[in-house]
Structure formats: C-alpha cells, structure tokens
C-alpha cells in the first residue's frame, strides 16, 4: 500500500507542467526594436546615433578616399598591406575593405535616420517645435550621407525609408542625377527649420540653419560641375552663399577667424567652424583617430600612437610642399618638417607630416582618443565657394570675388593678387583651396567637380616618373564587392573596375 501511495505521489510530482509563459523570454540586458522609438528621449538618443556615424567620415572619407587619392600624398613603398596604398596608386579593387566599411557606415547612418522618420510621428512631444527640429536634423544628415555616397560612387541605391532585406535585393542603383535631386529636395525642405546657433551644452555642434545652407550650396556647386554639369545650379548655390555672407558676424562661427592657427586644436572646438564632427577624449570611445593616421614616430608625451607614415611609407607629396608660396603662414600650421622621433636613441626626423590636427603635449593613452573636432564646413569655405560662383557666373573675375580670395590670402600672410581672366582666377582659387584646406579632405572633391582631377593627376604621374595614367573612370570608386555579391545582377559595377 505504501508503495502504491508513494508511486502516485511521485508520478503526480513528476509530470506537473509549467506555464506557457516559461518560454516567452525577452532580452533583459539589451533594448530591442520593439520597445524603442517611443518617447521624445528615445528619438533624441536615436538622433544622437545618427550624428555618431559622422565620426567615421574624417578618416575614411576625407583622409583615405580624398587626400590619399590626390597628389597630396605619395606612396613611396609599394606596400600592399593596407588599402591606402592601392588608393594612392589607383590599384584599388572592389574587394578593398575600406570601401566596404565606408559604404556600410553611410548606409547605417541612413538607416538610423530612416528609423527615426518612420517612428517620430507616432511619438507625442510636449513641444512640437522640438519634433520638427529633430526631423529636420535627421533629414539633413540623411541627405548629407547621400551626398558622400554619390560623390564617392556615382550611382547608388536610394533608400528613402526603412527597407526590409527582401526589398533590399530589389532596390537597384539610382543614377547620380536622381540622388542629387533627392538631396536637394530634402535639404531645401528643411533649410529654414533649424536655429542659427545653439547655446545649450548638449546641443552645441548640432546642425544649424547655416550648416544646412552651406552644405546645400556645396551640393549645388558639385551639381554644376562634373559629372552632372547642371550649370543652372550655380545660381542656386550663389543665392545660398550670398545669404550666408550677408549674415557674416551674426554668430561667432560666421566669421573669418583672424589667425589661421586658431582654427585647429581641441581648445578651438566649436568656436570657428560652421559644422564639425565632434570628438572628446577620456577613454569613452568618442575620440578621434584622425591625427594619428598621419603621424610618424614622434617624441611627444603621446604613447601608443600608431604611425602611418613611418610604418607604411605614405608621405606627403613633394608636389604639395613645393606648391606653397614663400611666407604662407599656413605652411607651418599645416606641416612639421623637422622634429625629434621617439626612437632609441632619438633621431632627427625630416619627413614632413600633417600636424594641423595634432595637439602637441597632450597626454593621451591611446592613438584613437584625440579630442580635436574635424571641420566639415568653415566660413573660409563659404567665401571661397562664393568667390568661385561669382567668377564662374561672370565673364571676367568680379571685384567681389577677388576681394574674397584676397581676404583668405591676407589671413595667410600673402599679398593680394588680381587674376585678370576667369581662368586665371579659377587656377588661383584652386591653389588657394588646396592650401587652405590641406589635410581637410576638400581638395580631391574640388578637383573632381571642376574637371581638373584627370589632367592634374596625370601631369603629376608624369612629373614623378610614375608610369601610369588615369581616366574619368577613376573619379568614382568601385562598388564594394560584398555588395556586388549580395544578389548578382542587382548592382552594376562602375566602369573600369
């Protein structure tokens, strides 16, 4: 009897079951897409996430895909180890990791923005104006990312909303004209929606109305040149630039800082530039690697500084160094040509490097933790773009354009010049831009849009006995092979790759 009782108890115990919810588990240490984008704070943090994508731009786009592509750099050693050698030598193949990474970063940024735009209208804001501002910043940043894509690759897929993987393999490339149309439509839609400046600590560095208009002007200027050659866009650019110039002095950032050297270095973050990529140091993962990418082994208090030049033989080209006029104050701000290295025993180094963004004496623990912001748009740029538009619109260089050019030269300690012809002005302007923005990634994109890239590069190859020449095919990069492979036939590779 005992045995039977016992067996029944045991059996009853053995086959009790538990609730169905036992299996319905959700992550407890991570947020999922189902429960985010629900409050104004969520939206604000999601927008911060869009800005965070900007941190990839300076090194990937402005240094490697722009400066290194141009005759500002010269790869002495045929070093196949890193992509930048192939970029500089025009051997880049679609497999290059850097291309994939840049493409990925830009589309991630676009997706981040698309997610916000998909959800923001369901979120109730106490202040509807805040909502509109968040929307405007999101749309601006998304359009800006497309501007990078279209400049670097030409025809790219246009995702103007969140798309699923199934939609992703249906979405073909759009021609550059369509991408530009999207960019200008988006930026125009919100061009007056943002404040002219921010003062609250958590906002300084967000896109202002002037950032939108300045970038939009650059977009128009690019559309007016190669490859679209929509010359009517000069007027659109001119109107925006003149609006900005008309507001000179209304905010501290709409001014030409008297001293060129004051533009750079972390103490000058958020003081003189219209729009900057923000970095802070302190081991938070929010620092910049940009200064380290172009440093040799320097004897500073810096440690663990990864050096690009000494280890990888990518040097500043003699062509750039020789192109400066004597007395150009920008030369010493931009380059270091004589220094002591941290070798043992210390050596004298004379291979020039870009020191514009290097804050000497700053103690960092890591090469990727520099605090310097990186300029995306400065007032000098607005002036030079305006001068360019004015000259291009006129038969001979207008005085206003010459004045603007000479303001930049005068700050650099150089005498005024008076180019007599439209073409002479263009040449002078191109040189000024190269020096003013050396190491800021503007030069290559200007060469491309002004149609100078092919002749300038081929002349340089010839002058330096580099037995190669390029065609217009090399003015855009190959679509990353990973994307070509996702769904064969979806994308068309750029010609020449």
């Amino acid at each position: 009897m005992k045995k039977i009782c016992f067996s029944i108890i045991l059996l009853a115990f053995a086959f009790t079951s538990c609730k169905k919810s036992f299996l319905d588990l959700h992550p407890t240490s991570s947020i999922t897409s189902g429960n985010f984008y629900q409050t104004p704070l969520d939206i604000q943090q999601a927008l911060n996430g869009v800005y965070a994508s900007l941190r990839d731009w300076p090194v990937d786009i402005y240094l490697f895909l722009s400066e290194v592509r141009s005759n500002n750099f010269y790869a002495v050693f045929e070093d196949g180890q890193r992509d930048w050698f192939d970029i500089n030598n025009y051997q880049l193949t679609p497999q290059a990791t850097l291309l994939h990474d840049t493409w990925q970063s830009l589309y991630q940024m676009i997706n981040r923005a698309n997610e916000i735009l998909a959800h923001i209208d369901e979120v109730t804001f106490d202040d509807p104006a805040t909502k509109e501002q968040y929307k405007a910043q999101t749309r601006f940043l998304r359009a800006y990312a497309y501007f990078q894509l279209v400049r670097l690759w030409g025809s790219v897929p246009l995702a103007n909303k969140v798309i699923t993987p199934a939609e992703g393999i249906q979405l073909k490339q759009s021609p550059p004209a369509d991408i530009y149309k999207f960019i200008t439509a988006e930026m125009n839609a919100i061009r007056d929606s943002l404040p002219t400046q921010y003062t609250a600590a958590g906002d300084v560095g967000r896109a202002t109305q002037w950032a939108v208009k300045g970038v939009l002007a650059r977009v128009y200027l690019t559309m007016a040149g190669y490859p679209l050659n929509q010359t009517d866009k000069l007027d659109s650019a001119g109107a925006l630039l003149q609006e900005i110039v008309a507001h000179e002095g209304t905010t501290p950032k709409l001014m030409l800082a008297p001293n060129y050297g004051d533009l750079f270095g972390y103490q000058h973050d958020n003081q003189h530039c219209i729009f900057e990529v923000q970095y802070i140091s302190g081991g938070l993962g929010e620092g910049s690697t940009f200064p380290s990418e172009v440093l040799p082994n320097l004897s500073t208090s810096l440690v663990n500084v990864r050096s690009l030049q000494s280890a990888n033989r990518l040097t500043i080209s003699q062509d750039l160094l020789d192109s400066y006029e004597p007395g150009d104050k920008r030369f010493d701000v931009t380059f270091d040509t004589s220094y002591t290295t941290n070798d043992n025993p210390p050596q004298h180094g004379n291979t020039p490097f870009f020191k514009k963004f290097v804050d000497f004496g700053l103690t960092l623990t890591n090469y990727d933790d520099w605090p310097e912001n990186f300029p995306l748009l400065r007032y000098a740029d607005v002036l030079l773009m305006d001068a360019e538009v004015l000259n291009d619109q006129a038969g001979t260089p207008p005085q206003a354009a010459i004045d603007m050019l000479n303001r930049i030269r005068s700050r650099a300690g150089l005498p005024a010049i008076h180019p007599a012809t439209k073409q002479a002005f263009q040449t002078a302007l191109a040189r000024e831009r190269r020096h003013e923005f050396a190491d800021e990634g503007q030069y290559w994109f200007s060469l491309v849009r002004t149609g100078q890239a092919v002749p300038v590069m081929n002349a340089w190859f010839k002058a330096t006995s580099q037995s190669k020449s390029i065609t217009q095919n090399k003015l855009v990069y190959p679509i990353p092979q990973t994307e070509m492979d996702v769904y064969p036939g979806l994308y068309t590779q750029n010609p020449g790759y």
Binding site: F6, I9, L10, F13, A14, S17, C18, F22, L23, D24, H26, P27, T28, S30, I31, S33, D42, Q45, A46, L47, Y51, L54, Y74, V76, F77, E78, D79, Q81, Y90, Q91, P94, Y107, Q108, A159, T164, P165, A166, G168, I169, L171, A201, D203, N270, I280, G283, V303, S310, N312, N350, T365, N366, S465, Q481, T482, E483, D485, V486, P488, L490, Y497
Partner: protein
C-alpha cells in the same frame, strides 16, 4: 510560474519525498554468506573485479586481487550471476553452493552482449537499430589523455575530431557526419550522465566508463531540437559492491613543438630588406626628379635625403651593422626561443566499492601542463563522487557530484594578433644587448624592425589568467513502481564560473610605467537547471520484448556576465582595477536566460531478438526562437533484422552475426545566439559641446519567425560478424537532409545591415562509414585491430532568394556558400605562377595594374584579362574522408598499442602565412622561407611561384596560401608492462608505460603552417597555437 519558484517547489517536494522514503527502508531476511574464488577457465589465473550478483536483487560483490568474493544472499532459492568483461556470464543456483567455491569463467570474443548507452537509456548492442559508435574505458584508461576529444580522434567511423589548436586545456572540434549547418553551430550535443552540458572542459578522462556517439537521426531524435549534429554521451564510472578498491594513475611527460614553420633566416631577411630599401630609395628620388642609384652608399643616401651624417631611415638606408653580422646584432630564431620543451604531469587517485545498500566511486585528479609557448600553463583540479543508495526494495537514490577548478595562464597565444602570430611576424634581428627583450624597456625596438615587441618578454610581463570553476551535480530517484514499470525523477544543477583577468603593463622604452597600461576583468556565471521525469516499462513475454519510455524535461540556463576594463594606471605595481588609480574604459553587466521544455516518448520492440523495431518522438519548446514558432516535433523510427538467427543461416556457423538496420528520423539544431529573433538596439554615443550624449542605433534585424533547422535523415546499416565475431564489420550509409537552415544571410547594406538570420536553404550530407574489428591473434600473443573509415559528401542544395551565393570566410573574401558545392568552399584567385618578364606579362591575361614579377592568376573565364570574375572554387574546408587504425598487442605482461589516423580531401587556408607573406608586406617583420626564392629580375625568376618583393597583388586573397590538408599521422604509441600478479604485496595491478602522442606525420606533404588540423579564424589558420609532440611515462596502480 517562473522556473525559480518552480525549481524551488520541486526541490522541496523531492526532499520531502526522499525523507518520506526512508521509513520504507525494508530489511529482508539475511542468509548465510557464501564465498569462493573466480578464475579464468583456461589459464587458471584469478580474476579481479568480477561482478558477483544475486539474481533479482541488488545484492552483489566484486572479486578481489586473488579472485575471492563473499556474498550474503537474501533468497535461499536464488542464483548467483558472475559477469566480467570479455568473459561469458555464468549462473550458479544457490542450491548448488559447492560450485560457488571454485568458479571458472570462459573468455568470449563476442561483443554481442555489450550494452550500449543510448539517449535516456541503454540497450544491448545486438538489439540496436540505430547507428551508435562506442568507445569503452579500455581504450581510454591505458592512454594518457589530456582532452576528451583526443580519446575519440581516429577511433570512431563518422566522428571527425580536429585538433584546431594545441593550447593546453582547449577543446577539440568534434563533427558527427559532416557539417549540416552554415551559420548555426555544428557542434554535437554533449551529455554527461544524462545531463546536457555545453562543453567537456574540466572533465577527467579517467572517470569515463564509456563514450557513445549517437550518429543517426533515429538515435538522436530523442534529443529533438539539439540532436541534428549528433550527440556525444559520456558515462562516468560507478562503484560496484565489494571492498574498497583504489586506483592510482600518474604520468609525466615532456612536450615539444611538433613542427616548425619555414621562415627566412636573419641573414635572408636582411638581404630582402636591402633590396626593398634600394627600390624605395630610387622611387623617392624620382618623386623629386632625381635619378638616384640603388648602389649609392649610405653617405650619399643621407646627403640626398637631407639627413644628418648620423641619420637613419629604415625606409631608405641599411643598418651599417648588417655588414658585421652577429658581432653587432642578435640574430634570433623566435620559434626556437618561444616554443620550449614543456612539462606535463598528472596524478589521479580513485576509490570505489560498496557495501550493502551503498556503492560509491570517488576520484580526484590534478593535472599540471605547461604549454610549449613561453609562460603558458594549464592546471586542473577535479573531483568526482558518484554515489548510489538502495533506499528500499524499490527505491534507489543516486548522487553525482563533480566539482573542478582550472587555471589557464598566459593565454593570448592562439590566433590573429596574438603571440603565435607575433613569433612569426617579428623581425629576426635585434640589438645586441636587447636580444629576447627587444622592444621591452630598457630596450627599444630595433630601428629597422616593426613595433612588435618580443613575444617572450610580452608573455612574461603580461597577465592573462582564465580560471574556471565548474560543478556538475545531479540527483536522481529511481522507483520500481510495478513489474517492469520504473520511474526516474532527476534534477541537475550545473554551475560554471569563469573569471578572466588581463593586465598589460607599459613595456615600451621611455614610457612612464602605468601610462600605457591596460587591464580587464571579466566574469561569466552560468547556472543550469534540469528537471526530468522518465517513466520506463520493460516487459518480455513469449519472445516479445518491449521497452517503452515516456518523459518530461524542463531546462533553464541563466547567464550573468560582468566586464570591466581600465587603462592609464598610476603605475604598474598592481594588476587589479581601481578607478581612483586608473581610468575605466568599460564597465558592463549582462544577463541572459534560456528555457527549454520537452516531452519525449519511445517504444522499442523485438521478437526473439530477431526482428527489431523502435520509434520515438520528442516535442521541444524553446525560448531561443521567435514568438511565432516556439514548438517543434521530432519523430523517428527504426527497424532491424538479426538475419543470422534465422533458421536458414544456422548451417553457416562461421557467421556469428548478420544484422540489417534501417532508421529514419527528424531533428533540429537550435545552436544560434539567443534573442536573435529580436532586432536589437545598440548604444552608439556621440558628444555635443564637449560632453558625452547617449545615442542608440539599430543593431540587428528582427525575425519573429526564426526557428530551428530541421534535419531529416535516414541510415542503412549492416553489421556482420564471422567466427564468433573474431572479424566484425559494420557498414552504414546515411543521407542527412537539412532544411530551414538558420542562415546569417548577407543583405544589401542599403537596408542598413550587412546580414540577418533567416531560416532558408537546404544542405545534404551523404556518407559511408565502415568499422572493422578483428582479433588477429588470440593465443598468448594477442593482436587486435580496429579500423574505421568514413566518407562524407556535403552539398548545398538551395539558398535564399534566387540562390544568391553567400560570400564568407576571412573578410567575406575567401569562401563561398553556393548551390551544388560543399559548404564554404574556398573561393579566390588561383595563383598559377609569376609573370617572369614583360613578355610573359604581355602574352598572359593580367590585371591592368600588374607588373612583371607579380603573381599570375588563372584566367578562369577566359576573357583575356584578370578581374574579380576570375575568382574560382579551389577546394573545400571539411575533409571528404577520415579514418583511423588502432592496433593493440599483448604478450604476457607486455602491451603495445598504436593509433594511426588521417583525414583528407580538404584544404586549409593558411591566413597566418598570408599575413606575414603578402607581396609588398614591407620588411619590418619576417616572412615565409619561400621568399628566399623570390622573383628578383627576369634573369633571376626564383621558384616561379614567389613574386617580387613589391608585387601589386598584396591585397588579394589567392591560392598561394591554400594547402592540401590531407594528412596521415602516427598519433599515438603506448608500450606498457604489467607486473606479474602478486609481485608486490597488497597491489592487485601494477603497470608502467611509455607513451607518445602526436608523434609524427606519415603524410602531410605540403602544409606550410604548423598543423593541417588548425582552424581558428573564419575558416582559416590564423596563427593557431601549434601542436605539441608529447612523450610520457606513467604508472597505473590498483590496490
């Protein structure tokens, strides 16, 4: 009800029941003890360890060293059964007590009555209808095994074991019948004494009684959503009734690097360097419009470059001391310096026995293994206690406890950017005084070398400790409810605590201690609970034998992790983290919970052991999968026919076994990361106005339909035995068809994501397996051979939308998953030589950027030019076949056994070779030895395969580093001597042996890396911890 409360309740209930069970303890009538001696019927030698059991009771004993036993029976009319491995059972009725005095057991060569452990039970081998490979303790215990996978390697047909790393304490990769999954795990399910465990780490091989690998779906379907990759069942040793028996095992050995890689010597490296400098110097001149000559001496170069007279430049100017050789500089062979002879020792002691109602086996193991890599070490301390108590005539209580603790020091050797990589990459020249401390203060780096610091000094100065505390515990209650109906209720609690500490002090010259230091401490704590009820029923009547099983199991895993990292320390005096003396860079915790509920049932039937059938089903519900697809059913059936027992076969007495088998089953693979069904939102912060702001961004795609991979497989088997099974052969053919693959499919980045998990695609594995066992000689000299051979053919049959191929491997550029090919075939440029001169370049298809001396690729599509469309399939990563042959000899007290094992038909991509070998890698580090035969000029074309030093194909992935991975290895050799019985008083069994593991390759023609089995980074060998050859001596003592 949450599982925690659920578990509490169950535990409480179990305790109550156990207490309640005590009064049931029923004492039976005791009779006069019987005793006797058991001996071998032919030799007359006493047999030690024979199980003596009163039939129908649990009353039992084992014989001692002299073959003696004493047993107190409980039934006067019963019988006593004697059983001993390798001998026929003998049954003597108690009524013939006289026969008990001197029992003779005769040997058998049959393995028919062997019992095989299967999922949730065991079965006699002759009744088996599934495909199960077994490895008995005999093949494990005489061999000094450090990792369990090692015991299986080469021993089981269709079970492919790969020593992917030589790191002490690291697990081996086990694959059962090929790889059926692309993105999910291909690891089998490991089950120790009925309890699933995530890995076999910290388990003492000497505790293992048998290892069974369930291969076909009919055997594994009872494990449902975890069975698709096969199941490895580990059964640990239990105690037997009788006096306490002790076993002491110890071994000592020395490990050495099994194979060295061919690198440039210091002199050859210098020669290559000079050539590279000449080339750079000339190019630099051209940039400024000068024609500088490669023969310019140092003084001219300094002048031309604008450097002072004492200036240096590693790009353009040689080290003047190169001319003086080792008088001025240290030439270092880093492999010789870093990989050192390393000691290994192991001590094990166990006690087992039992009296009356309690049996026990308790063992302890201490292992201390230095790694061959400098300053690496592994220690393991483990205990296992297996206890069983007969509470009443119908209740048995069992407890298994296995705590263990291991320490792994000096990790950071295995893999990319770790020390095994640096040993190969570091320049073979150092400053005379720095030597093996090159790059570590007070010595700077050698100016002409890269920044790689001495890997030896690095290992010495840095801390990298991983310790692991593991407890496997289970408690079960077995109730004999009613005539053949048994209930087993068990609970298991496994806990695993891992702590990983690292500290990297500031080592560079001129650096202030602490400023560049970094340290981290991460922990992970896993708690696993299992509750399981199994009802079994066994009945035999009129030749019908039925065995049925119904069960219910609930499992829960809770994981908690913490991670902290700091950097920039006040000094390097302490290696612990403190935010007042260092800067925190990471501080995070994580939690994860995983649940699984299952119902299972199985019926096994046979008629007169002739016609066999079995069917099973399991229903699994898992938290891992999407909200819309939590449950799945996994059925199976199998049939068998023991044809040899048919009357028409009785005229062929030399055929002792002839069994046909067929099975079919469905099971699943749930080996994907948790919560993949949910799209994640990850932090990505930014700063505004110099202050940090929090940002969140989409981290992964969501898929609420995510479910397990389904595998349907069938197995056709034949087991034949001749001459009393002196020769036995097993053959299996299987067809494993996997659908709904959990695929991490690349998606267009235009979606914002590079990939996402979906269930899509089909893969098939087909294979043949043969196992042959022979007793070649059975006299005084015994010779047994077992041979196994398995072929596996793996094919991808279907993929995602439009069957778009998936690029995978290193940087997604070395492998391809495409329809009609095995999973992950190597896909890259096929290097066919070097453009020997400009004429060759002009005449051959080439890339626009190619120059003479560059690597020449095969123009696969024949369009006259080389581009991405010329990448092609050049081999598969998984072996097409694997085999092993094991021979054992005994002659008097001497035993000798050896294992030769191999695999082949596959390739291995030597990523480490590529990393230090690409053309144009620069010369700051060392390169593969083949660079001594590089292309130098059209008149000095080298070996025709190695390009010029500054070749343009450096960024490409090509077949120059793809090697044939076919190998034949003389894996182990053991020679032992067992001392004659009774030579040492009080010692029952004493054996000394010599053993060698990883002795040498009989065939490994051309692998350029350390081991063709190595595998660590995206399908390649990126600096795996090299294999060690181990020579050991050991003793086994039983007393």
């Amino acid at each position: 009800m949450s599982l925690r409360t659920f578990t509490h309740e169950k535990t409480r209930a179990l305790l109550v029941l156990l207490l309640a069970g005590v009064p049931f303890y029923c004492s039976a009538q005791q009779l006069t003890p019987v005793s006797g001696v058991v001996k071998d019927s032919t030799t007359g030698q006493p047999l030690t360890g024979v199980t003596v059991l009163e039939v129908g009771t649990t009353r039992g004993a084992t014989t001692d060293a002299h073959g003696r036993f004493t047993l107190t029976p409980v039934r006067s009319a019963g019988a006593v059964k004697f059983s001993y491995l390798g001998y026929n059972d003998k049954l003597i009725p108690l009524t013939q007590a006289g026969r008990l005095k001197n029992v003779r057991l005769s040997t058998n060569n049959k393995t028919l009555n062997e019992v095989v452990v299967i999922g949730y039970g065991s079965q006699e081998k002759k009744d088996l209808t599934g495909s199960v490979a077994q490895l008995s303790a005999a093949k494990i215990q005489d061999r000094p095994i450090t990792r369990i996978g090692q015991a299986i390697q080469g021993q089981m047909a269709g079970v492919q074991v790969r020593a992917t790393t030589g790191e002490p304490g690291a697990a081996l990769q086990i694959r059962v019948r090929g790889s059926s999954s692309i993105s999910a795990s291909n690891d089998p399910l490991y089950v120790v004494d009925g309890v699933p465990v995530p890995d076999l780490g910290n388990i003492n091989p000497s505790d293992i009684a048998s290892i069974e690998v369930l291969k076909d779906a009919a055997s594994t379907a009872i494990y449902g959503s975890r069975g698709a990759n096969g199941v490895v069942l580990i059964t640990t040793k239990k105690g037997n009734s009788g006096n306490a028996k002790f076993q002491f095992n110890a071994y000592f050995g020395v490990q050495t690097l099994a194979k060295k890689m061919d690198l440039l010597s210091s002199k050859e490296w210098i020669n290559m360097y000079e050539q590279a400098q000449d080339s750079a110097y000339v190019k630099e001149g051209l940039q400024s419009g000068f024609n500088w000559s490669p023969s310019d001496p140092i003084s001219v170069r300094l002048k031309n470059l604008g450097l002072p007279a004492n200036g240096r430049s590693n790009t353009y100017i040689p080290d003047p001391r190169w001319a003086n050789g080792t008088d001025s500089l240290d030439y270092i062979d880093w492999q010789d310096a870093f990989y050192r002879p390393a000691m290994i020792s192991d001590y094990q002691l166990s006690a087992s026995g039992g009296s009356g109602k309690l049996t026990y086996r308790i063992s302890g193991d201490y292992k201390d293994q230095d790694g061959i890599a400098a300053y690496s070490n592994y220690k393991l301390f483990s205990i296992r206690a297996n206890l069983q108590a007969k509470l009443t005539s119908y209740l048995t209580l069992g407890l298994n406890l296995a705590p263990s603790y291991s320490w792994m020091d000096g990790g950071n050797v295995d893999g990319k950017d770790a020390q095994s990589h640096h040993v190969l990459a570091i320049a073979p020249v150092a400053e005379k005084d720095a030597g093996l401390n090159s790059g570590i203060a007070p010595y700077g780096r050698y100016f002409w070398a890269g920044s790689t610091q001495s890997p030896i000094a690095y290992q010495r100065e840095t801390t990298n400790e991983l310790n692991r505390q593991r407890l496997l515990s289970s408690l079960y209650l077995l109730a004999d409810i009613y005539k053949g109906l048994d209930l087993k209720v068990s609970g298991a609690w496994n806990t695993d605590q891992q702590n990983h500490k690292t500290y990297h002090p500031t080592l560079g010259l001129g650096q202030v201690p602490g400023t560049g230091s970094s340290g981290s401490y991460t922990t992970s704590n896993t708690q696993y609970y299992l509750f399981e009820s199994l009802l079994t029923y066994n009945r035999s009547f009129n030749g019908n034998n039925i065995s049925a099983l119904a069960g219910y199991t609930v499992e829960q895993t809770n994981e908690a992790t913490t991670s902290q990292s700091n950097k920039q320390f006040a000094n390097d005096d302490l290696t612990t983290l403190n935010m007042s003396t260092s800067t925190p860079t990471r501080s995070s915790t994580g939690e994860l919970k995983r649940t699984l509920i299952s119902y299972l049932a199985r019926v096994q039937y046979n008629y007169k052991n002739k016609y066999l059938a079995s069917a099973s089903i399991r229903r699994d519900g898992s938290s891992i999968f999407g909200t819309d697809s939590k449950w799945g059913n996994f059925p199976s059936f199998s049939v068998g026919w023991n044809m040899a027992q048919e009357s028409f076969m009785q005229g062929l007495p030399w055929i002792s076994q002839w069994k046909w088998r067929y099975s079919y089953g469905e099971n699943g693979n749930n080996g994907i990361p948790d919560y993949n069904a949910f799209g994640s939102i990850s932090p990505d912060n930014y700063s505004f106005g110099e202050s940090l702001v929090n940002g969140y961004v989409p981290g992964s795609l969501s898929n609420p339909d995510l479910h397990w991979e389904k595998t349907q497989s069938s197995d056709y088997g034949l087991d034949i035995g001749f001459w009393n099974n002196r020769l036995s052969v097993s053959a299996d053919y299987y067809n494993k068809y996997t659908t709904d693959l959990l695929l991490n499919v690349p998606v267009a980045l235009a979606t914002g994501f590079a990939s996402g998990y979906v269930n899509i695609g089909h893969v098939r594995n087909q294979g043949l397996e043969f196992a042959v066992n022979t007793a070649n000689l059975t006299g005084q000299l015994q010779w047994n051979t077992s041979f196994n051979l398995a072929f596996n053919k793996n094919r991808v049959l279907q993929l995602g939308t439009g069957n778009a191929p998936i690029h995978t491997g290193f940087s997604h550029q070395t492998q391809l998953i495409t329809v009609g090919q095995p999973i992950g075939v190597f896909y890259m440029y096929d290097a066919i030589g070097v453009y020997k001169d400009n004429a060759d370049l002009k005449a051959s298809p080439h890339m626009a950027t190619n120059k003479q001396g560059d690597v020449k690729y095969r123009d696969v599509n024949g369009d006259g030019t080389i581009d991405v469309d010329d990448r092609t399939i050049v081999g598969q990563p998984d072996p097409k076949y694997s085999w092993g042959i094991y021979n054992s000899f005994t002659f008097k007290g001497i035993d000798l056994s050896f294992l030769i094992q191999g695999a082949g038909g596959n390739k291995v991509y030597d990523l480490i070779g590529r990393a230090i070998d690409r053309p144009g890698m620069g010369t700051l580090g060392n390169a593969l030895g083949r660079w001594r035969d590089r292309w130098r000029s059209p008149s000095e074309p080298g070996d025709g395969h190695t390009p010029r030093i500054d070749g343009t194909t450096g960024s490409q992935y090509d077949s120059r580093w793809l090697y044939n991975a076919t190998y034949v290895r003389f894996k182990s050799l053991i020679i032992g001597y067992t001392l004659p019985n009774g030579l040492i008083r009080g010692v029952d069994h004493a054996r000394v042996y010599f053993s060698g593991e990883n002795l040498f390759y009989l065939y490994n023609k051309d692998y350029g890396g350390y081991s063709p089995e190595a595998l660590n980074t995206n399908g390649g060998d990126y600096g795996a911890y090299p294999d060690a050859r181990t020579i050991m001596v050991g003793i086994n003592l039983g007393f």
